[in-house]
C-alpha cells in the first residue's frame, strides 16, 4: 500500500526489537470474543487511478452550478474564488499543520489568524473577533449562550426571519441547557414586533441582516431598545459580502455578530466546511467561545503571535469552559483571510456594489414577468419572489431545463401554505447576462 512505508521484513524486525512474536500480541488487550480475524466486508485497496475514476463518476451524476445558470443562496453563495486563495491553502505548511500550540514553529498560521480576527472585526464594526467557529449557524447558537453568560439571564428572542437552519441549530443547542429561546414567526412583509418581547428577563435579541428573505433593516433602534433593558443585540450575517455595501452591525449597535464567512474564499462544497465568524466587544472577550490569537514578543523581543486566553477553553477549563469547541474552521478562515486581503477596501466594497447592481437588474427583469412579484422592498444580492405557482414545483421544472433558479422557501420552512409560492433568488458577480436571460425565459416557459 503506497501510504505505508514498512515492508514485511521491516515489520518482522521491529516486532523482534519490541520482543513479541507476532502483531497479534500487541492487540492482546482486546477481548477475545470481539477480535476480528477476517477482513471487514469492504473492497480491497484501490490505486489512485481507480479512486480518481470513482469520484469522477460520482461527480458526473451531479449538476454543477459552475457550468449552469445558478441563482441559489439562502445562506450559501456562489462567488468567484481567486486562484491564489486555493493555491495557498494547499501549501503543505498550511494544509498539513496542526493547531498552532507550538508558536515558535507556527507563526505562519498564527499571524494569519491575527489578520483574520482583525479583518472580521473591521467588516463587522466590532472590537474583537475569534479565530472561527464551525459555521454561521453554530456561531449563532454560541452567541446566544455567550449572551446569556454575559447578562446572567436565561432567555433569548429569535427573529422569525432568522435563517431556519440557524433557528433550529440554536433551538437544538439550547434545549438541554438552563437557557431558552422564544421564536417569533416569519414576517414576509412589514416589521417584526419585537417590543412586546423585550424585557429585563431577556439576555438577547437575535436578528439577521439581510434577513432570510433578503430584506435589509436599520437595527439601530432595536439595539437601543435592547440596551435599555440590559439585553444584548446579536446580529447574524450570512452573506458577508453585504458588509461592503451596508452599515456594519457594530455601527448599528450590535453587541455580538455571528456570521457565515463562506462567501469569501470558501467553495460551496454542498454545504461544508464553511467558516463561522464571531465578533464582539473587547469587554466580553472572556466570555467568548473558541480560540483567540494574540500578539506578544519572543525572548529576543521580536513580535510574535500565540493562542491566548485559553482559560476559557475546554482543554483547560473542562466542564466550566465557555464552549466545547476544539477543532474549528482553520483552513477556511485562512482562505477567507487571503481572499479578503486580495480584495482590500477597494475590492471588497466594489464586489458588494457589483453584487447589488446585478441583483437589482435581475429583480427588475423578473418583476417584468407576468404574475411574478418581488416581495421585499429592500435587499442586497438576494430577494424573494412571489410566484403564481408552487415554488418547489417551479424549481424542479427549471432544473429540468438546466437552470438552478432559486431556493423555494418551503424547502426550509415547510407546511406553511402562505409561503409555498415564495422563491429566494440570489444574484452574484458570477451570474452573467446570459444566465439571467436564461432564467427569465425559462421562468416564462414554466409559469
Amino acid at each position: 500500500m503506497r501510504y505505508m512505508p514498512h515492508t514485511a521484513g521491516e515489520r518482522a524486525e521491529m516486532l523482534g526489537k519490541i520482543g513479541v512474536g507476532s502483531i497479534d500480541d500487541l492487540f492482546a488487550d482486546i477481548p477475545k470474543e470481539a477480535r476480528l480475524d477476517d477482513l471487514l466486508k469492504l473492497p480491497l485497496h484501490a490505486s489512485e487511478m481507480e479512486v480518481e475514476k470513482n469520484f469522477r463518476t460520482l461527480a458526473s451524476k451531479n449538476l454543477s452550478p459552475y457550468s449552469t445558470p445558478c441563482f441559489l443562496g439562502a445562506g450559501a453563495y456562489q462567488h468567484h474564488i481567486p486562484s491564489v486563495a486555493d493555491h495557498i491553502i494547499q501549501r503543505s505548511e498550511f494544509l498539513t499543520a496542526y493547531t498552532p500550540y507550538q508558536p515558535e514553529i507556527s507563526q505562519g498560521t498564527l499571524q494569519a489568524l491575527f489578520e483574520f480576527q482583525t479583518q472580521v472585526a473591521l467588516i463587522t464594526g466590532m472590537e474583537v473577533a475569534n479565530a472561527s467557529m464551525y459555521d454561521g449557524a453554530t456561531s449563532c447558537a454560541e452567541s446566544i449562550l455567550m449572551a446569556c453568560r454575559v447578562t446572567r439571564r436565561k432567555k433569548a428572542i429569535l427573529s422569525g426571519n432568522l435563517h431556519p437552519h440557524y433557528r433550529e441549530t440554536a433551538r437544538t443547542a439550547l434545549q438541554f441547557t438552563e437557557f431558552s429561546a422564544s421564536e417569533l414567526p416569519p414576517v414576509v412583509e412589514g416589521a417584526e414586533a419585537f417590543d412586546e418581547y423585550i424585557s429585563e428577563e431577556i439576555a438577547c435579541v437575535v436578528v439577521q441582516n439581510p434577513d432570510f428573505f433578503g430584506r435589509l433593516q436599520d437595527l439601530t433602534s432595536l439595539a437601543e431598545k435592547c440596551h435599555a433593558v440590559g439585553a444584548l443585540l446579536v446580529v447574524v450575517v450570512n452573506e458577508v459580502v453585504s458588509l461592503g455595501a451596508v452599515m456594519s452591525p457594530g455601527e448599528m449597535g450590535a453587541d455580538i455578530v455571528a456570521g457565515e464567512g463562506q462567501s469569501i474564499g470558501v467553495p460551496l462544497s454542498f454545504g461544508g466546511p464553511y467558516v463561522g465568524l464571531l465578533a464582539t466587544r473587547q469587554k466580553f472577550v472572556r466570555q467568548m467561545p473558541g480560540r483567540l490569537c494574540g500578539q506578544t514578543v519572543d525572548q529576543d523581543g521580536q513580535r510574535g503571535f500565540v493562542l491566548t486566553l485559553s482559560t476559557r477553553e475546554q482543554h483547560i477549563r473542562r466542564e466550566k469552559a465557555t464552549s466545547n469547541i476544539c477543532t474549528n474552521a482553520g483552513l477556511c478562515s485562512l482562505a477567507f483571510t487571503i481572499h479578503m486581503s486580495l480584495l482590500g477596501e477597494v475590492g471588497f466594497t466594489k464586489l458588494a456594489k457589483l453584487n447589488h447592481g446585478e441583483a437589482v437588474s435581475a429583480a427588475e427583469a423578473l418583476e417584468e414577468i407576468e404574475g411574478v412579484e418581488v416581495v421585499n422592498a429592500s435587499f442586497f444580492n438576494e430577494f424573494t419572489l412571489r410566484l403564481p405557482k408552487n415554488a418547489a414545483d417551479v424549481v424542479e421544472k427549471l432544473a429540468a431545463k438546466g437552470v438552478l433558479g432559486g431556493v423555494p422557501v418551503s424547502r426550509l420552512i415547510p407546511d406553511q401554505p402562505e409561503l409555498e409560492n415564495l422563491l429566494l433568488v440570489a444574484v452574484t458577480e458570477t451570474c452573467s447576462t446570459a444566465d439571467l436571460e436564461k432564467l427569465v425565459s425559462s421562468l416564462k416557459e414554466v409559469l
Binding site: T177, G271, G294, V297
Partner: protein, 530 residues
C-alpha cells in the same frame, strides 16, 4: 548517527563568537527565513488584488442603510498577497515537512489525490440547496461513506452532520439525553474518567449534565471499583475514550458497557483513537451506544492548522431514532434527503448546523478509505500500534513509563527521568524543535506528571523512528550532563524564540489597530519589507 565532523550547525564566521553584531542582518531576514509584516502594515490605498467588472449603475435598493464610512482594510496587489502568505507558510512546521508525533492527534500522511477529487467540478462546487434530483452523486457519496463507517465500527446507524469531534460528542450525548427523556427519565450525572480529553466534560456540561470524574487505576485504565461506586439510577451514561488517552486499550470495556447498561445508562465512546483498532475490533461488538469519528484524524482529512474537521457519530439501535437531521434516505427514484423533524424523524433531537455536514471532508475521507480498502485499513491499525511500541521500547531505558506493558497507537511517558536535571517536559520539547521534530503532546493526559504522549502513526518509516529515538537519547544524555541552560534557551533556530504567553494573556492584543491607537510594544523593523 551523530554529526561526525562535529560541525557547528550555527553559522560560523571568520571570527566567530567575538561579536553578536557580526551576524546581524539589516532586514531581519536570514536568507530563506523571510519576515513579513501584517497585511495592515503593507497596504497602500488604491491598490487592487482582484479585478472585476464595473458595477451596474442602478437605483440602490439597500433600504437606506448604505455604508458611509470606510472599513479600514488594506489594499494590496496579487503578487504582494501571494508573497505574504508564502512567507508566512514557511514559518510553519507541517506533517509534509517532518515527523509530527502529537499524541491523540493522529497526524498522518494527507494524500494529495484527496485534495484533487475534493475539487472536481460537480463535487466541490455543489450548492447545498440544489434540488435533490441534481445532486444524486453527492447523496450517493454520503451514503457510501456512511456504509464504510458503519461497517468499520459495526454500528447500525450514523449521524453525518457533526462538524468535528467535539460536535460529535454533543450529538452523541444529546441523543443519550433525548433517549432518557423519551423514557421520561431525568438523569443528571455523566461519568468521565480523569484522563478524558477536555471536550468530554465540556460536552456533558452543554447537555446540562453534572460531570463526575472517575480516577485512573495503577495500570492506566479507568478504575472499575471507583466507577462501580459512582453508578446509580441518576447516571445518564459514561464517556470513555478507547483506546484511552494513555494509549491503552480499556480491556474491561465490555464489563464497563454491561455495568452502564445495567443501570439504564448509555455508553458514549470517544472515537478519537479509532486509528489504533481499525479492522481489528468493532466498537459495535464492545457495547458502545454512540461514538464520534474524527475524519480529520483516523481518515486523514488535513488538519489545516486547526480545522476544518468532521465528526460523524455512529449510533446503536437504542439511540438511532434520536439522530439529528438531515438524513440521507433511499427514495423511490434515487436518493433523498430528510431535512426536517417530522414523520420518521419525529424523535430526532434536532439539527446541529446549517446544511448537511462537512461534505469536503466526506469526499477526502471516502477517497482515503477506498485507497486503503479492508486490507489497508487493518494494516493502518497494525502499523500504527507497531510504531508506537517500537518507540516505547526504543526509549524505555531513557524515559520513564507510568504504565508498563504493550501500548496501542501511542506511547506515554512521564517526566520521572528528568527529575533533578532542571529540564522540564516543555524544555525537552523546545529542544526537539531545533532538531527538526514537532514536539509530542505534553502535559496531557492529566493523570501522569509532565506527560509526553507520542503518536507516530502508521505513516512513518522505521528510519524516521530511529532518528527520533536517537535524537531523544542524545537530548536526554545532554539533560543529564547538566546542560540545562541549553534547554531553557531552546529553540535557537526557529523563526521565533520562546514567546511571552503570560504577557499575551495579561494584556490581550487580539487585533491590529492603527499605530496611533496601538499601545503594545510592536517591533516594526520589517514594516518596509516585501
Amino acid at each position: 548517527m551523530l554529526n561526525k565532523q562535529g560541525r557547528p550547525t550555527q553559522p560560523s564566521s571568520p571570527n566567530a563568537g567575538n561579536s553578536d553584531m557580526e551576524f546581524e542582518t539589516y532586514t531581519g531576514n536570514k536568507a530563506l527565513e523571510l519576515e513579513t509584516p501584517l497585511i495592515f502594515e503593507q497596504g497602500v490605498a488604491g491598490r487592487i488584488g482582484v479585478d472585476m467588472a464595473e458595477p451596474k449603475a442602478v437605483k440602490s435598493r439597500l433600504g437606506g442603510i448604505e455604508r458611509k464610512d470606510s472599513i479600514g482594510l488594506p489594499d494590496m496587489s496579487e503578487p504582494q498577497v501571494l508573497r505574504h502568505f508564502v512567507r508566512l507558510s514557511r514559518q510553519n512546521y507541517s506533517i509534509d515537512s517532518g515527523f509530527y508525533p502529537l499524541g491523540s492527534c493522529t497526524m498522518k500522511h494527507n494524500p494529495r489525490i484527496n485534495e484533487k477529487v475534493a475539487r472536481l467540478a460537480g463535487l466541490g462546487d455543489l450548492h447545498p440547496l440544489q434540488p435533490v434530483s441534481t445532486v444524486q452523486g453527492a447523496l450517493e457519496l454520503i451514503d457510501s461513506l456512511a456504509h464504510w463507517l458503519k461497517t468499520i465500527t459495526g454500528m447500525p446507524a450514523v449521524a453525518m452532520s457533526p462538524a468535528a469531534g467535539a460536535h460529535g460528542e454533543l450529538c452523541g450525548v444529546m441523543a443519550i439525553r433525548a433517549a432518557h427523556e423519551a423514557k421520561g427519565q431525568a438523569r443528571v450525572r455523566i461519568l468521565v474518567p480523569e484522563s478524558a480529553h477536555g471536550t468530554n466534560p465540556a460536552t456533558a456540561a452543554l447537555c446540562g449534565y453534572k460531570v463526575e470524574a472517575v480516577p485512573a487505576s495503577k495500570n492506566g485504565r479507568m478504575d472499575l471499583d471507583a466507577f462501580a461506586k459512582k453508578l446509580g439510577p441518576d447516571v445518564a451514561g459514561v464517556m470513555l475514550t478507547n483506546p484511552n488517552t494513555c494509549g491503552l486499550f480499556e480491556n474491561d470495556i465490555k464489563k464497563i458497557a454491561d455495568m452502564i447498561h445495567e443501570i439504564g445508562g448509555y455508553f458514549y465512546c470517544d472515537g478519537a483513537n479509532l486509528n489504533a483498532i481499525l479492522g481489528r475490533v468493532r466498537p459495535g461488538d464492545l457495547g458502545v451506544d454512540a461514538m464520534h469519528i474524527n475524519l480529520h484524524k483516523t481518515f486523514s482529512t488535513p488538519h489545516g492548522g486547526g480545522g476544518p474537521g468532521s465528526g460523524p457519530v455512529v449510533l446503536s439501535e437504542a439511540l438511532a431514532p434520536y439522530a439529528p437531521v438531515p438524513i440521507v434516505t433511499h427514495g423511490v427514484d434515487g436518493y433523498d434527503l430528510t431535512e426536517h423533524v417530522t414523520g420518521d424523524t419525529a424523535r430526532s433531537f434536532g439539527r446541529m448546523k446549517a446544511f448537511h455536514g462537512q461534505m469536503g471532508m466526506f469526499i477526502r475521507a471516502l477517497a482515503y478509505m477506498q485507497s486503503h480498502g479492508a486490507d489497508g485499513l487493518r494494516q493502518i491499525a497494525e502499523d500504527a500500534v507497531l510504531n508506537a511500541n517500537y518507540i516505547r521500547v526504543g526509549l524505555q531505558d531513557q524515559l520513564h513509563s507510568p504504565f508498563k506493558g504493550v501500548c496501542m497507537h501511542e506511547a506515554l511517558f512521564d517526566d520521572g527521568s528528568l527529575k533533578g536535571t532542571g529540564v522540564t517536559t516543555l524544555d525537552l520539547a523546545k529542544a526537539m524543535i531545533d532538531e527538526g521534530f514537532h514536539p509530542m503532546t505534553m502535559y496531557f493526559p492529566l493523570v501522569v506528571h509532565g506527560a509526553m504522549l507520542i503518536e507516530p502513526t502508521e505513516s512513518e518509516s522505521r528510519q524516521t523512528l530511529d532518528q527520533f529515538i536517537g535524537t531523544m537519547k542524545h537530548l536526554l544524555a545532554k539533560a543529564h550532563a547538566n546542560e540545562e541552560d541549553y534547554f531553557h534557551g531552546a529553540p535557537y533556530f526557529a523563526p521565533r524564540r520562546r514567546l511571552d504567553e503570560t504577557g499575551a494573556a495579561r494584556n490581550p492584543v487580539l487585533r491590529w489597530s492603527p499605530p496611533a491607537a496601538d499601545t503594545s510594544d510592536v517591533d516594526v523593523t520589517f514594516s518596509a519589507a516585501s
